[in-house]
Amino acid sequence: MEREKEKPAVVLKGGAGHLRLVVPDGLPDPEVWPALEKAIQEAHHLLEGSRVVLDLQGRPLTEELIGRMLKDVIWNYGLSILSWVSFDSGGQNLLRKAGLAVGEPAAAPSEPRQARSVQTLLLDRSLRSGQKVEHPGDVFIIGQVNDGAEVVSAGNIVVWGRLQGLVHAGAEGNVSSRVIAKSFEATQVRIGRLFSTFDSASPWYGKSVLFAVEGDALIAKELP
Protein backbone atom coordinates (compact mmCIF):
# COMPACT_ATOMS: atom_id res chain seq x y z
CA MET A 1 0.00 0.00 0.00
CA GLU A 2 2.80 2.38 0.92
CA ARG A 3 4.48 1.71 -2.41
CA GLU A 4 1.27 2.33 -4.34
CA LYS A 5 0.77 5.74 -2.76
CA GLU A 6 4.20 6.87 -3.89
CA LYS A 7 3.45 6.00 -7.50
CA PRO A 8 3.04 9.03 -9.68
CA ALA A 9 -0.41 9.44 -11.18
CA VAL A 10 -1.62 10.75 -14.48
CA VAL A 11 -2.48 14.40 -13.93
CA LEU A 12 -4.97 16.61 -15.68
CA LYS A 13 -3.95 20.27 -15.76
CA GLY A 14 -5.75 23.30 -17.01
CA GLY A 15 -3.86 25.28 -19.61
CA ALA A 16 -4.52 28.45 -21.58
CA GLY A 17 -7.47 27.42 -23.74
CA HIS A 18 -6.87 23.69 -23.39
CA LEU A 19 -6.50 20.80 -20.91
CA ARG A 20 -3.22 18.99 -20.42
CA LEU A 21 -3.10 15.27 -19.68
CA VAL A 22 0.35 14.57 -18.23
CA VAL A 23 1.67 11.00 -18.16
CA PRO A 24 4.68 11.15 -15.84
CA ASP A 25 7.91 9.31 -16.61
CA GLY A 26 7.90 7.52 -13.26
CA LEU A 27 4.86 5.44 -14.24
CA PRO A 28 5.86 2.04 -15.74
CA ASP A 29 4.39 1.31 -19.20
CA PRO A 30 1.84 -1.36 -18.12
CA GLU A 31 0.47 0.93 -15.41
CA VAL A 32 -0.08 3.81 -17.80
CA TRP A 33 -3.42 2.41 -19.02
CA PRO A 34 -5.20 1.94 -15.68
CA ALA A 35 -3.84 5.29 -14.50
CA LEU A 36 -5.12 7.04 -17.63
CA GLU A 37 -8.48 5.30 -17.34
CA LYS A 38 -8.80 6.46 -13.77
CA ALA A 39 -7.88 10.07 -14.50
CA ILE A 40 -10.21 10.27 -17.50
CA GLN A 41 -13.17 8.75 -15.67
CA GLU A 42 -12.72 11.15 -12.77
CA ALA A 43 -12.70 14.16 -15.02
CA HIS A 44 -14.99 13.09 -17.86
CA HIS A 45 -17.21 16.11 -17.39
CA LEU A 46 -14.16 18.36 -17.84
CA LEU A 47 -12.84 16.48 -20.83
CA GLU A 48 -16.11 16.54 -22.75
CA GLY A 49 -15.81 19.03 -25.56
CA SER A 50 -12.33 20.12 -24.48
CA ARG A 51 -9.19 20.08 -26.55
CA VAL A 52 -6.46 18.08 -24.87
CA VAL A 53 -2.70 18.25 -25.03
CA LEU A 54 -1.34 14.78 -24.38
CA ASP A 55 1.96 15.27 -22.56
CA LEU A 56 4.00 12.05 -22.60
CA GLN A 57 7.13 13.78 -21.26
CA GLY A 58 10.35 11.77 -21.75
CA ARG A 59 8.73 8.36 -22.14
CA PRO A 60 10.21 6.31 -25.01
CA LEU A 61 7.37 5.90 -27.49
CA THR A 62 6.87 2.72 -29.48
CA GLU A 63 4.47 2.00 -32.35
CA GLU A 64 2.63 -0.34 -30.02
CA LEU A 65 2.25 2.28 -27.29
CA ILE A 66 1.06 4.92 -29.73
CA GLY A 67 -1.37 2.49 -31.33
CA ARG A 68 -2.81 1.48 -27.99
CA MET A 69 -3.02 5.11 -26.92
CA LEU A 70 -5.15 5.87 -29.99
CA LYS A 71 -7.37 2.82 -29.76
CA ASP A 72 -7.84 2.27 -26.02
CA VAL A 73 -7.66 5.83 -24.77
CA ILE A 74 -8.32 8.51 -27.36
CA TRP A 75 -10.97 6.83 -29.53
CA ASN A 76 -12.33 4.76 -26.67
CA TYR A 77 -13.10 7.83 -24.52
CA GLY A 78 -13.81 10.15 -27.44
CA LEU A 79 -11.01 12.62 -26.58
CA SER A 80 -10.16 15.47 -28.88
CA ILE A 81 -6.36 15.84 -29.02
CA LEU A 82 -4.82 19.21 -29.79
CA SER A 83 -1.26 17.97 -29.88
CA TRP A 84 1.17 15.36 -28.61
CA VAL A 85 4.04 16.55 -26.46
CA SER A 86 7.06 14.27 -26.10
CA PHE A 87 10.76 14.80 -25.44
CA ASP A 88 11.57 11.45 -27.06
CA SER A 89 13.00 12.20 -30.50
CA GLY A 90 12.25 8.72 -31.91
CA GLY A 91 8.71 9.01 -30.64
CA GLN A 92 8.37 12.49 -32.15
CA ASN A 93 9.34 11.05 -35.53
CA LEU A 94 6.76 8.28 -35.27
CA LEU A 95 4.06 10.80 -34.40
CA ARG A 96 5.08 13.17 -37.21
CA LYS A 97 5.12 10.35 -39.76
CA ALA A 98 1.55 9.59 -38.77
CA GLY A 99 0.68 13.24 -39.43
CA LEU A 100 -0.12 13.96 -35.81
CA ALA A 101 0.43 17.40 -34.27
CA VAL A 102 3.63 17.32 -32.23
CA GLY A 103 4.89 19.88 -29.73
CA GLU A 104 3.27 22.66 -27.77
CA PRO A 105 0.01 23.71 -29.37
CA ALA A 106 0.61 26.56 -31.82
CA ALA A 107 -2.69 28.29 -31.29
CA ALA A 108 -2.49 28.62 -27.51
CA PRO A 109 -3.10 32.32 -26.91
CA SER A 110 -0.46 32.78 -24.22
CA GLU A 111 1.51 36.06 -24.38
CA PRO A 112 4.81 34.93 -25.83
CA ARG A 113 3.08 32.93 -28.53
CA GLN A 114 1.03 35.94 -29.49
CA ALA A 115 4.24 37.86 -30.10
CA ARG A 116 5.68 35.07 -32.19
CA SER A 117 2.56 34.51 -34.25
CA VAL A 118 3.20 37.95 -35.79
CA GLN A 119 5.73 38.05 -38.58
CA THR A 120 9.28 39.07 -37.81
CA LEU A 121 10.23 42.50 -39.10
CA LEU A 122 13.52 42.30 -40.97
CA LEU A 123 15.06 45.70 -41.60
CA ASP A 124 17.99 45.76 -43.99
CA ARG A 125 19.02 49.36 -43.22
CA SER A 126 20.23 51.65 -40.48
CA LEU A 127 17.99 53.81 -38.33
CA ARG A 128 18.98 57.46 -38.01
CA SER A 129 18.33 59.77 -35.10
CA GLY A 130 14.62 60.52 -34.81
CA GLN A 131 13.54 57.41 -36.68
CA LYS A 132 11.39 54.91 -34.79
CA VAL A 133 10.29 51.37 -35.51
CA GLU A 134 7.32 49.86 -33.70
CA HIS A 135 6.33 46.26 -34.35
CA PRO A 136 4.07 43.72 -32.60
CA GLY A 137 6.57 40.90 -33.23
CA ASP A 138 10.32 40.30 -33.33
CA VAL A 139 12.51 42.94 -34.97
CA PHE A 140 15.74 42.05 -36.74
CA ILE A 141 17.85 44.97 -37.92
CA ILE A 142 20.81 44.50 -40.23
CA GLY A 143 22.46 47.89 -39.82
CA GLN A 144 23.08 50.49 -37.14
CA VAL A 145 20.61 51.92 -34.67
CA ASN A 146 22.03 55.40 -34.20
CA ASP A 147 21.86 57.60 -31.13
CA GLY A 148 18.37 59.13 -31.03
CA ALA A 149 16.67 56.28 -32.93
CA GLU A 150 14.13 53.97 -31.24
CA VAL A 151 13.02 50.38 -31.69
CA VAL A 152 9.93 49.16 -29.83
CA SER A 153 8.91 45.51 -30.17
CA ALA A 154 6.48 43.22 -28.42
CA GLY A 155 8.99 40.40 -28.96
CA ASN A 156 12.75 40.15 -29.34
CA ILE A 157 15.09 42.73 -30.87
CA VAL A 158 18.26 41.80 -32.69
CA VAL A 159 20.58 44.54 -33.96
CA TRP A 160 23.13 43.10 -36.32
CA GLY A 161 25.28 46.22 -36.17
CA ARG A 162 26.04 49.02 -33.75
CA LEU A 163 23.31 49.79 -31.22
CA GLN A 164 23.44 53.35 -29.87
CA GLY A 165 19.75 54.20 -29.76
CA LEU A 166 16.96 53.09 -27.47
CA VAL A 167 15.52 49.58 -27.69
CA HIS A 168 12.43 48.30 -25.88
CA ALA A 169 11.78 44.57 -26.22
CA GLY A 170 8.69 42.87 -24.82
CA ALA A 171 7.02 46.26 -24.80
CA GLU A 172 3.59 44.67 -24.17
CA GLY A 173 4.89 42.99 -21.04
CA ASN A 174 6.51 39.82 -22.34
CA VAL A 175 9.52 39.49 -20.05
CA SER A 176 10.89 36.47 -21.88
CA SER A 177 11.88 38.83 -24.71
CA ARG A 178 15.53 39.42 -25.38
CA VAL A 179 17.73 42.08 -26.87
CA ILE A 180 20.81 41.14 -28.83
CA ALA A 181 23.30 43.68 -30.16
CA LYS A 182 26.35 42.93 -32.27
CA SER A 183 28.11 46.02 -30.96
CA PHE A 184 26.50 47.54 -27.89
CA GLU A 185 26.98 51.28 -27.39
CA ALA A 186 23.57 52.29 -26.06
CA THR A 187 22.87 54.14 -22.85
CA GLN A 188 19.63 52.38 -22.00
CA VAL A 189 17.94 49.01 -22.61
CA ARG A 190 14.31 48.21 -21.83
CA ILE A 191 12.63 44.82 -21.59
CA GLY A 192 9.02 44.65 -20.42
CA ARG A 193 8.73 47.11 -17.54
CA LEU A 194 12.41 46.91 -16.60
CA PHE A 195 15.18 49.13 -17.81
CA SER A 196 18.86 49.54 -17.22
CA THR A 197 21.28 52.35 -17.98
CA PHE A 198 24.84 52.18 -19.24
CA ASP A 199 27.71 54.47 -20.16
CA SER A 200 30.90 54.07 -22.13
CA ALA A 201 32.67 52.83 -18.99
CA SER A 202 30.35 49.82 -18.72
CA PRO A 203 31.96 46.40 -19.32
CA TRP A 204 29.48 45.75 -22.14
CA TYR A 205 30.38 48.81 -24.19
CA GLY A 206 31.44 47.92 -27.72
CA LYS A 207 30.84 44.20 -27.12
CA SER A 208 28.33 41.72 -28.52
CA VAL A 209 25.75 41.46 -25.77
CA LEU A 210 22.51 39.65 -24.98
CA PHE A 211 20.02 41.16 -22.54
CA ALA A 212 17.29 39.18 -20.82
CA VAL A 213 15.12 39.30 -17.72
CA GLU A 214 15.86 36.99 -14.83
CA GLY A 215 13.48 37.30 -11.90
CA ASP A 216 13.14 41.03 -11.31
CA ALA A 217 16.45 41.94 -12.88
CA LEU A 218 17.62 42.80 -16.34
CA ILE A 219 20.76 40.79 -16.98
CA ALA A 220 23.46 41.20 -19.61
CA LYS A 221 25.67 38.51 -21.05
CA GLU A 222 28.57 38.97 -23.40
CA LEU A 223 28.28 36.88 -26.54
CA PRO A 224 31.31 35.16 -28.02
Binding site: R128, S129, G130, Q131, Q144, N146, D147, G148, Q164
Partner: protein, 266 residues
Protein backbone atom coordinates in the same frame (compact mmCIF):
# COMPACT_ATOMS: atom_id res chain seq x y z
CA UNK B 1 26.20 72.69 -66.14
CA UNK B 2 22.52 72.60 -65.19
CA UNK B 3 21.62 75.16 -62.54
CA UNK B 4 22.07 73.72 -59.07
CA UNK B 5 20.40 74.60 -55.78
CA UNK B 6 22.14 73.41 -52.63
CA UNK B 7 20.76 73.78 -49.11
CA UNK B 8 23.32 74.19 -46.33
CA UNK B 9 21.89 72.80 -43.11
CA UNK B 10 22.80 71.13 -39.81
CA UNK B 11 19.93 70.62 -37.39
CA UNK B 12 21.90 72.07 -34.51
CA UNK B 13 22.61 75.80 -34.33
CA UNK B 14 26.03 77.39 -34.13
CA UNK B 15 27.99 74.75 -36.00
CA UNK B 16 28.95 77.04 -38.89
CA UNK B 17 26.20 76.88 -41.53
CA UNK B 18 26.33 80.58 -42.32
CA UNK B 19 30.13 80.73 -42.35
CA UNK B 20 30.22 77.71 -44.65
CA UNK B 21 27.58 79.20 -46.96
CA UNK B 22 29.44 82.52 -47.20
CA UNK B 23 32.84 80.96 -47.86
CA UNK B 24 31.53 78.49 -50.42
CA UNK B 25 29.52 81.19 -52.20
CA UNK B 26 32.61 83.39 -52.54
CA UNK B 27 34.78 80.48 -53.73
CA UNK B 28 32.18 79.33 -56.29
CA UNK B 29 31.75 82.87 -57.63
CA UNK B 30 35.52 83.25 -57.90
CA UNK B 31 35.57 80.03 -59.92
CA UNK B 32 33.44 81.86 -62.48
CA UNK B 33 29.95 80.59 -61.65
CA UNK B 34 27.10 83.04 -61.23
CA UNK B 35 26.28 82.35 -57.58
CA UNK B 36 23.35 83.28 -55.34
CA UNK B 37 23.70 83.10 -51.56
CA UNK B 38 20.20 82.96 -50.08
CA UNK B 39 19.60 83.60 -46.40
CA UNK B 40 16.81 81.18 -45.46
CA UNK B 41 16.80 82.17 -41.81
CA UNK B 42 13.81 84.51 -41.89
CA UNK B 43 13.74 86.68 -38.78
CA UNK B 44 17.34 85.97 -37.74
CA UNK B 45 19.38 87.09 -40.68
CA UNK B 46 23.15 86.65 -40.48
CA UNK B 47 24.48 85.84 -43.91
CA UNK B 48 24.58 89.53 -44.89
CA UNK B 49 26.88 90.31 -41.95
CA UNK B 50 29.22 87.39 -42.62
CA UNK B 51 29.41 88.40 -46.28
CA UNK B 52 29.89 92.06 -45.30
CA UNK B 53 26.89 93.23 -47.31
CA UNK B 54 24.51 94.33 -44.54
CA UNK B 55 24.58 98.05 -45.35
CA UNK B 56 23.48 97.55 -48.95
CA UNK B 57 20.23 95.69 -48.28
CA UNK B 58 17.08 97.35 -49.64
CA UNK B 59 14.68 94.48 -50.28
CA UNK B 60 14.64 90.96 -48.93
CA UNK B 61 13.39 87.44 -49.55
CA UNK B 62 9.95 88.09 -48.08
CA UNK B 63 9.49 91.12 -50.35
CA UNK B 64 10.25 88.92 -53.35
CA UNK B 65 7.90 86.04 -52.48
CA UNK B 66 5.14 88.50 -51.61
CA UNK B 67 5.61 90.16 -55.00
CA UNK B 68 6.64 93.54 -53.58
CA UNK B 69 9.70 93.57 -55.80
CA UNK B 70 11.42 91.60 -58.54
CA UNK B 71 14.08 89.04 -57.63
CA UNK B 72 16.79 90.97 -59.51
CA UNK B 73 16.00 94.07 -57.52
CA UNK B 74 16.38 92.34 -54.16
CA UNK B 75 19.66 90.58 -54.98
CA UNK B 76 22.61 92.45 -53.49
CA UNK B 77 25.60 92.32 -55.82
CA UNK B 78 28.97 91.85 -54.17
CA UNK B 79 31.46 94.48 -55.39
CA UNK B 80 34.56 92.52 -54.37
CA UNK B 81 33.73 89.35 -56.29
CA UNK B 82 32.16 89.22 -59.67
CA UNK B 83 29.21 86.81 -60.03
CA UNK B 84 28.29 86.82 -56.32
CA UNK B 85 24.81 87.87 -55.21
CA UNK B 86 23.04 87.81 -51.87
CA UNK B 87 19.32 87.43 -51.27
CA UNK B 88 18.97 88.56 -47.67
CA UNK B 89 16.36 87.38 -45.20
CA UNK B 90 13.81 89.69 -43.60
CA UNK B 91 14.75 90.61 -40.07
CA UNK B 92 11.37 92.02 -39.06
CA UNK B 93 9.32 88.98 -40.06
CA UNK B 94 9.18 85.36 -38.85
CA UNK B 95 9.39 81.94 -40.51
CA UNK B 96 5.60 81.98 -41.02
CA UNK B 97 5.95 84.84 -43.53
CA UNK B 98 6.96 82.32 -46.23
CA UNK B 99 5.13 79.21 -47.42
CA UNK B 100 6.56 76.09 -49.03
CA UNK B 101 4.84 76.91 -52.34
CA UNK B 102 6.39 80.39 -52.33
CA UNK B 103 9.85 78.90 -51.73
CA UNK B 104 9.41 76.45 -54.61
CA UNK B 105 8.45 79.29 -56.90
CA UNK B 106 11.41 81.36 -55.72
CA UNK B 107 13.77 78.45 -56.37
CA UNK B 108 12.45 78.10 -59.93
CA UNK B 109 13.26 81.74 -60.50
CA UNK B 110 16.73 81.39 -58.95
CA UNK B 111 17.41 78.44 -61.24
CA UNK B 112 16.68 80.60 -64.27
CA UNK B 113 19.07 83.31 -63.15
CA UNK B 114 22.01 81.60 -61.42
CA UNK B 115 24.40 78.72 -62.03
CA UNK B 116 24.59 77.81 -58.37
CA UNK B 117 22.33 78.81 -55.50
CA UNK B 118 23.31 78.15 -51.89
CA UNK B 119 20.50 78.38 -49.34
CA UNK B 120 21.55 78.96 -45.74
CA UNK B 121 19.02 77.05 -43.64
CA UNK B 122 17.94 78.01 -40.12
CA UNK B 123 18.72 75.61 -37.28
CA UNK B 124 15.97 73.20 -36.29
CA UNK B 125 13.79 70.69 -38.08
CA UNK B 126 10.59 72.70 -38.36
CA UNK B 127 8.99 74.76 -41.11
CA UNK B 128 11.99 77.09 -41.43
CA UNK B 129 14.26 74.19 -42.31
CA UNK B 130 11.64 72.63 -44.57
CA UNK B 131 11.18 75.88 -46.48
CA UNK B 132 14.93 76.26 -46.93
CA UNK B 133 15.30 72.67 -48.16
CA UNK B 134 12.14 72.16 -50.20
CA UNK B 135 13.34 73.75 -53.44
CA UNK B 136 16.92 72.44 -53.24
CA UNK B 137 18.26 69.59 -55.35
CA UNK B 138 21.17 68.69 -53.12
CA UNK B 139 22.28 69.29 -49.55
CA UNK B 140 25.41 70.03 -47.58
CA UNK B 141 25.16 69.06 -43.93
CA UNK B 142 27.49 70.92 -41.59
CA UNK B 143 28.47 69.36 -38.29
CA UNK B 144 31.18 69.69 -35.67
CA UNK B 145 32.90 66.75 -33.97
CA UNK B 146 30.57 66.83 -30.96
CA UNK B 147 28.10 64.13 -29.96
CA UNK B 148 25.14 66.52 -29.87
CA UNK B 149 25.94 68.05 -33.27
CA UNK B 150 26.45 64.63 -34.86
CA UNK B 151 23.14 63.35 -33.48
CA UNK B 152 21.31 66.39 -34.86
CA UNK B 153 23.09 65.99 -38.20
CA UNK B 154 21.93 62.37 -38.25
CA UNK B 155 18.34 63.50 -37.68
CA UNK B 156 18.53 66.12 -40.44
CA UNK B 157 20.11 63.63 -42.89
CA UNK B 158 17.16 61.29 -42.30
CA UNK B 159 14.77 64.15 -43.13
CA UNK B 160 16.76 65.19 -46.22
CA UNK B 161 16.72 61.56 -47.39
CA UNK B 162 12.96 61.43 -47.01
CA UNK B 163 12.78 64.66 -49.05
CA UNK B 164 14.82 62.90 -51.77
CA UNK B 165 17.73 65.37 -51.77
CA UNK B 166 20.73 63.94 -53.57
CA UNK B 167 23.60 64.01 -53.05
CA UNK B 168 23.67 64.79 -49.34
CA UNK B 169 27.26 65.57 -48.40
CA UNK B 170 29.02 66.39 -45.17
CA UNK B 171 31.25 69.24 -44.07
CA UNK B 172 32.95 68.48 -40.77
CA UNK B 173 33.68 71.87 -39.25
CA UNK B 174 35.99 73.00 -36.45
CA UNK B 175 38.15 69.93 -36.20
CA UNK B 176 41.18 70.17 -33.92
CA UNK B 177 43.71 67.58 -35.05
CA UNK B 178 45.69 67.86 -31.83
CA UNK B 179 42.60 67.08 -29.73
CA UNK B 180 41.70 64.15 -31.96
CA UNK B 181 45.22 62.81 -31.52
CA UNK B 182 45.02 63.04 -27.75
CA UNK B 183 41.65 61.28 -27.81
CA UNK B 184 39.68 64.31 -26.58
CA UNK B 185 37.74 64.82 -29.80
CA UNK B 186 35.73 62.51 -32.03
CA UNK B 187 37.66 61.51 -35.12
CA UNK B 188 36.54 62.05 -38.73
CA UNK B 189 36.17 58.29 -39.12
CA UNK B 190 33.85 58.00 -36.10
CA UNK B 191 31.59 60.74 -37.48
CA UNK B 192 31.46 59.09 -40.91
CA UNK B 193 30.75 55.72 -39.28
CA UNK B 194 27.59 57.13 -37.76
CA UNK B 195 26.40 59.46 -40.50
CA UNK B 196 27.35 57.21 -43.44
CA UNK B 197 27.28 59.94 -46.11
CA UNK B 198 29.94 61.33 -48.44
CA UNK B 199 32.45 63.67 -46.83
CA UNK B 200 33.02 66.79 -48.90
CA UNK B 201 35.41 68.58 -46.59
CA UNK B 202 37.02 68.92 -43.18
CA UNK B 203 37.53 72.48 -41.90
CA UNK B 204 40.11 72.94 -39.14
CA UNK B 205 39.26 75.05 -36.12
CA UNK B 206 41.03 78.31 -36.84
CA UNK B 207 40.99 81.77 -35.24
CA UNK B 208 41.03 83.24 -38.76
CA UNK B 209 37.41 82.08 -39.17
CA UNK B 210 36.18 84.12 -36.20
CA UNK B 211 38.09 87.21 -37.34
CA UNK B 212 36.80 86.97 -40.91
CA UNK B 213 33.22 86.44 -39.75
CA UNK B 214 33.32 89.57 -37.61
CA UNK B 215 34.95 91.61 -40.35
CA UNK B 216 32.46 90.43 -42.95
CA UNK B 217 35.24 89.18 -45.19
CA UNK B 218 34.92 85.48 -45.99
CA UNK B 219 38.26 83.66 -45.91
CA UNK B 220 37.88 82.47 -49.46
CA UNK B 221 38.23 86.11 -50.64
CA UNK B 222 41.99 85.67 -50.37
CA UNK B 223 43.12 84.47 -46.95
CA UNK B 224 46.13 82.16 -46.74
CA UNK B 225 44.96 80.16 -43.72
CA UNK B 226 44.42 76.42 -43.67
CA UNK B 227 40.68 76.96 -43.09
CA UNK B 228 40.52 79.18 -46.20
CA UNK B 229 42.21 76.46 -48.22
CA UNK B 230 39.82 73.85 -46.80
CA UNK B 231 36.75 75.90 -47.79
CA UNK B 232 38.15 76.48 -51.29
CA UNK B 233 38.67 72.75 -51.65
CA UNK B 234 35.05 72.07 -50.68
CA UNK B 235 33.95 74.46 -53.44
CA UNK B 236 36.18 72.65 -55.95
CA UNK B 237 34.71 69.30 -54.92
CA UNK B 238 31.18 70.73 -55.37
CA UNK B 239 32.25 71.55 -58.94
CA UNK B 240 33.27 67.95 -59.46
CA UNK B 241 37.02 68.24 -59.08
CA UNK B 242 38.89 65.44 -57.32
CA UNK B 243 40.79 67.17 -54.53
CA UNK B 244 42.54 65.15 -51.82
CA UNK B 245 41.71 66.04 -48.21
CA UNK B 246 44.12 68.50 -46.58
CA UNK B 247 46.70 67.20 -44.18
CA UNK B 248 45.51 69.12 -41.14
CA UNK B 249 48.64 68.20 -39.23
CA UNK B 250 50.62 70.42 -41.59
CA UNK B 251 50.96 73.37 -39.14
CA UNK B 252 53.17 71.08 -37.07
CA UNK B 253 55.78 71.54 -39.73
CA UNK B 254 56.09 75.23 -38.95
CA UNK B 255 58.67 76.41 -36.42
CA UNK B 256 61.97 74.93 -35.49
CA UNK B 257 60.79 71.49 -34.43
CA UNK B 258 58.56 71.31 -37.45
CA UNK B 259 61.52 72.16 -39.61
CA UNK B 260 63.62 69.54 -37.87
CA UNK B 261 60.86 66.92 -38.29
CA UNK B 262 60.52 67.81 -41.96
CA UNK B 263 64.29 67.64 -42.45
CA UNK B 264 64.41 64.25 -40.77
CA UNK B 265 61.46 63.11 -42.82
CA UNK B 266 59.27 62.38 -39.81
Amino acid sequence: MDPRIIVVTSGKGGVGKTTTTANLAVALAKAGYKTAAVDGDIGLRNLDVVLGLENRIVFNLVDVVEGACKLQKAMVRDKRVENLFLLPAAQTRTKDAVSAEQMLKLCDELRENFDITLIDSPAGIEQGFRNAAIGADEAIVVTTPEVSAVRDADRIIGMLESMSKSPIRLVLNRLRPAMVKSGDMIDVKDVLDILAIELIGVIPDDTSVVISTNKGEPLTLGDESLAAKAFSNVARRILGEEVPLLDLDAPDQKGFFGFLRKALGL
